[in-house]
C-alpha cells in the first residue's frame, strides 16, 4: 500500500506532471510564474484545494453519482458545483482560522475555482477507480507537481530578466518556448514508475 501511494505521488509530481505532461492549468502556470514568491503561494493554495477536492470527488463519485447511474452526464456539472463551493468554504475557513494565511493566499484562492488541474484530478479519480487514501495521494501529488512546475518556471523567468532576449521573442513568446523545453525535460522521467 505504502509503495503504491509513493508511486502515485511520484507519478503525479514527475512522470505525469499535471502541467508539463498533461498540459492542464496552463493559465496560472504562465500567469503567476513571474515571481518565485507568488509562485510558491499559488502552488501551496492549489495543493490545499486539490487535496480537499480529491476527498470530495471520491465521496461524490462513490456515494451519489455511481449508485444512481448519473455518472455519464452529471459528473462534470456536479464536480464544478462541488469545487466551487469547496473553494468558497475553504476561503471562509482560512479567513476565520488564520487571517495571516488568508492574506498570504490573497487573490489566488478564489482563482483556483477555475484552475483546470482541480477538475482534471477530480475526473481522474473515478477513471482510475482509486480508493479514498489513493485519491488524497493523487490530489496531494498533483498539487505538489503544480507547485514544482510553477517554482521552476518562475526561477527561470526571474533569471531571464537579466538576459538579452531577442526582440521578437520578448514577452509571452520566450515563456512559451521555455515551457515547451521544460515539458520535454520532464519527458525524461517517463518509465520511472509503472503507468496508471
Amino acid at each position: 500500500m505504502a509503495k503504491e501511494l509513493f508511486f502515485i505521488i511520484i507519478g503525479a509530481v514527475f512522470v505525469n506532471n499535471f502541467v508539463l505532461s498533461r498540459f492542464l492549468g496552463q493559465c496560472p502556470f504562465l500567469g503567476v510564474s513571474s515571481k518565485t514568491e507568488t509562485a510558491v503561494g499559488m502552488g501551496m493554495a492549489t495543493t490545499f484545494v486539490l487535496t480537499m477536492t480529491a476527498v470530495a470527488a471520491y465521496f461524490l463519485q462513490n456515494y451519489v453519482l455511481a449508485p444512481y447511474g448519473l455518472e455519464p452526464f452529471l459528473q462534470i456539472v456536479s464536480f464544478i458545483l462541488v469545487i466551487a463551493s469547496l473553494v468558497q468554504l475553504v476561503e471562509m475557513v482560512v479567513l476565520k482560522i488564520s487571517p495571516a494565511l488568508y492574506n498570504a493566499f490573497g487573490i489566488f484562492l478564489p482563482l483556483i475555482t477555475t484552475n483546470c488541474i482541480v477538475m482534471g484530478a477530480a475526473l481522474l479519480i473515478p477513471m482510475y477507480k482509486y480508493n479514498l487514501i489513493k485519491s488524497i495521494a493523487l490530489g496531494l501529488g498533483a498539487g505538489l507537481g503544480f507547485t514544482l512546475a510553477l517554482v521552476l518556471m518562475s526561477g527561470i523567468r526571474e533569471e531571464m530578466e537579466f538576459h538579452d532576449v531577442p526582440e521578437a521573442l520578448k514577452g509571452p513568446a520566450i515563456v512559451f518556448i521555455t515551457a515547451g523545453l521544460l515539458s520535454m525535460i520532464f519527458l525524461g522521467f517517463t518509465g520511472l514508475v509503472p503507468l496508471g
Partner: protein, 345 residues
Amino acid sequence: MANIILTSLLSMGGLGLVLGGGLAIASKKLAVETDPRADAIVEALPGANCGACGYPGCSGLSKAIVEGKAPINACPVGGAKVAAKIAEIMGVSDTGSADDKKIARVLCQGDKSKAKNKSEYHGVMTCKAASMVNGGPKGCAFACIGFGDCVKVCPVNAITMGENGLPIIDEEKCTGCNLCVKTCPKMVIALTPGKNEVHVRCRATMKGKDTRAVCSIGCIACKQCEKVCPFDAIHVKDNVAVIDYEKCRNCMLCVEKCPTKSITAAFPTRKKAVIIEEKCIGCTLCAKSCPVNAITGEVKKVHVVNQELCIGCGICIEKCRKDAIKMVRETQGKCDSCEACAASK
C-alpha cells in the same frame, strides 16, 4: 427514462441544496467582523481588480485604506471621483489629490512659430523616428518635435496636440502614469508635483546665445530668476534654470522677471495674504518675515498687507501665532501673457 430524469433532478437539486445551505450556515458561523467602511470602499472602487495600486485587488486596497496604510487617492484608475467618494466614506473632507498627485507637464514652449525648424522632415511621422535623423527637424536639439508620440501612448486620453505643434496635457485627466515621460525621445515631458504651479518650460543646455538663436522663448541662463527668488528655489544649472519643487512656494516672482517668458505659472491660482483685523495684535512678526516687505504696521496696531506687493508665499501665515492671516485667491489675474489669465479675465 423518466426515472433517470427524476433521480438526476433530485440528486443535483439535493446537492445544490446541501452545498448552498452549508455555505449559508458556514458564512454565518464563520463570519469575520470586518470594518463596514472597507465594504463601502469596495463598492466605491472600480472593481476591476487590476492591481495598479500595488495591492491584491480592490478588496486589498480597501483594507489598506481603512487601516491607514494607503492614501484615499491610491486608486489610479478611479482618479479624483473615486477619491472623493472614499473621502466621504472615511470622513475626510480633503481628498489630498491635488497635493500628492503628480502631473506630467510639457517642459518646452518651442512651438512652430517660436522654435524654427532647421530642416524639413519627410519620413515616418513619429517623434522617435524623427529624432533619430540628425536629432530631429527642430533647430533646438531639446525642443518638442510635436508628432504626438505622447498623445498616442496616453492611456487616459489626457494629451491632445495643439495647433501650434505642442502637446496640451489635461491636468485633471492626467493620472501621472509616467508613460508619456518614458515615450518622449526629447524628454521634454516631466512628472511634476501637482501643487507646484511654477515651471521652467525649457530644457536647453546650450549657452544663452545659442539658445536665443534657435528659439525665442528658451531659457538664456540670465540668472535673473535666481536673484529674484526669495526662497533659493531656482538655480541656473548647465545653462538652464531648474526649480527645486520642494523649496518653491509658487510666489511667481521669477515668472514676472523672466525676460524670455520661459518660466510659466498659472497666475489665477496665485494667492494673497489678508490680515484678519480682530485677531491681529500687532506683533510685527509677519512684517519682519515678509520677503517682499508687503506687510506694514506699527507695534501693537493692526497690520496691513499691500495687495499689490504680496506674492502669496505663505511665510507670514507660518510665522503668525494668532492665526490672524488667511490666504485668499486673487480674483483678477495680473498678467495676460498666457491663455489661462486671458480666459479668467
